[in-house]
Amino acid sequence: MCKMKTGMKKMSREKRDNIIGYSLIAPSLILLIAIGIVPILITVSYSFQYRVLTDPLNTHFVGFENYITLFKSETFLEVLRNTAVFTVLSMVFQLIVGFAGALLMNGAKRFVGIIRTAVLIPWAIPGIIIAYMFSFMFNDQLGVMNQLFQTANIISSPVAWLTDRTWAMVVVVLADTWKQFPYIALMLLAGLQTIPKELYESAAVDGAGRISKFFRITLPNLKGVILIILLFRTMGAIRIFDIIFGITGGGPANSTATLLYQAYKYLFGDMNFGLGSALSTIITILILACSIIYIKVLKTDD
């Protein structure tokens, strides 16, 4: 102990600070490398192998064969298209609902705490539970939605929501929207509260209406927040899994199967770790690309 102290004294202050700094971040860095970087590298290496769990003695290097198989298969195009549709739809739905929620919370004068807590509830429920809730609500025979719509005379006979390509997609988007809008609403709310009240007051003096205030003051001031939301939600939507798994299982006719769901099917359904890893690698690259684009956009905006 004593020796170390004298030793430390001899070092320059800067060096000592560095050592302390490194040793403080070391545990989290090691953890991050162990559970973040290493598995990604291993996945990439698997993606170049024939590696089927039930055929363990036959594992060998195959170059880009898994990728070629993927790019040639119609399934890949199909799940890519489904993922794109899901991502765009869910983003639009979530921004609209999120905005409504944020404006509501921002305008609330009483029960602020209760409203904010209530809005957060869906976000705290695990995705798989939400998935089963929605699959039950939209069940053609027992679902509450058919009953509600029939009582309200919107539909005359029960609709089989989950057997129709379009409706099935709408239902999974709705479920995801319900889960994610609180997060977006809260981010927007934080953004809203940073907008100086004076802006609205002077706009009011100039005779601006509600709508023009929203488009000329609120939206431009929230641009940064919206971009961040887009960034996170794109990444979230690309890796959508639990909602799909619980509601449609990718059906009808694969119309709601997404990239990660397909990767799961390859990995844990077919036990084909080579093909599954190749698809996982593609997903990782897609998300990296998305983040780079968004970060670029965000930077020029500053």
Binding site: P39, V52, L53, T54, D140
Partner: protein, 432 residues
Amino acid sequence: MKMKKVLSVLLSTAMAVSLAAGCGNSDKEEGSSADSSKGAGASDISGEVTFVSGNDQTGALDEMIAAFNEEYPNVTIDHQLLPGNSDDVKKSLMTSLAAGDSEPDVFECDIIWVSQFAAAGWLLDVTDNLEAKADEYLAGPLSTCYFGDKAYAYPNYTDVGLLYYRSDLVDTPPATWDELVEMSKEHIGKDGIDYGYIFQMFQGEPTSCNMLEFIKQNGGTDLVDGKFAMNNSNTIESLEFVNSLIDDGISPEGVLSHKPDDSRAIFEEGKALFMRNWTYAYANANADTSKVKGNVGVTALPVGPSGTESSGTLGGWNFAINANTENEAASVAFAEFMSSYDAQKISTMVRSTFPTAAKVYEDEDVLTDKPYLADVRSAADNAKPRPQVRDYSAISSVFQVYFHKALTKELGYEDAMEQMDTELNAALEKMK
């Protein structure tokens, strides 16, 4: 960042599992013969056997184990129950088997795992032992113990797609598709009946099982002589029939999203005249929670216009032995006993399973307690297994997608079946 973490957790799990697979099993060649138990007296066999099963709340397995111990007092059975559904159980088992663990020694094995596990070299070859008793079992279930011409498991209990009908409304159940349609049309709109026939076409294993049934009822086939050639009139006629059921309102549009429990709910509400379901639905339909309690009949599925015999998809469970077991004699003795008439009788009486040993169907006690077994014997006899290939799940994934594409009319029937054949044969090629 968030995504990366999630992905990496997922992948690290994947990695751990497959690393284990990589190093397992290199030291033992597949299928060492298991005839060491022959000739040894019951009291000569001793040791401990670890037995893994799915959840059993009825206590039937404990009774079966107790009966085993009466005969083999020197063998201790360490019975472990795994929670969750069949897929969860499979994942737990695969972790041990792929790592080359000597435990569990014996386990309950879903019939669709047998080929996969046997091909990986994880199961003990029991061909000689089983063949000596082959005539004691029903042919369908017995065939599920085989991979190629070797046997790797003992029959446990069977499951098969059956036709459930409302015995209060229908005297003689339909034997053909035409009769089914006719009777349905007659009853829809009366006595609270909304639908004639309900089945399960959720994109997943239900679609594979149900559609293969329709096809085989109509004289079609799946895997013949190592090739799939399903783009034929038998298959197309079956697809047309299923869609005509939906179009004519005999089946609800929602069948394409239904799983077995969805069908059960409709049937138990008294809204359907006929239902295709697994054997488990019988006990549920006659429970106090069911509105049709006591009015449920069960029989073999009807036959299509181009078919000659009823065919249900075969499900069910076997007993398999770990190839790396350290106590082969005791493990074989245990698996053999659990598959025997005595043990199956307990299982049938206590947990209402459908036996695979023919004698149980003729047992007085059993028939008094479970009279319906006499009606389903022929269905169990004629049931057909799903394709027995090394990697059935890869085949099933193809079935699910293309059957669904045809049924939702996204692709023409012939186009869908042609593409399906191509993909099935390509998948098959990869398994060689």
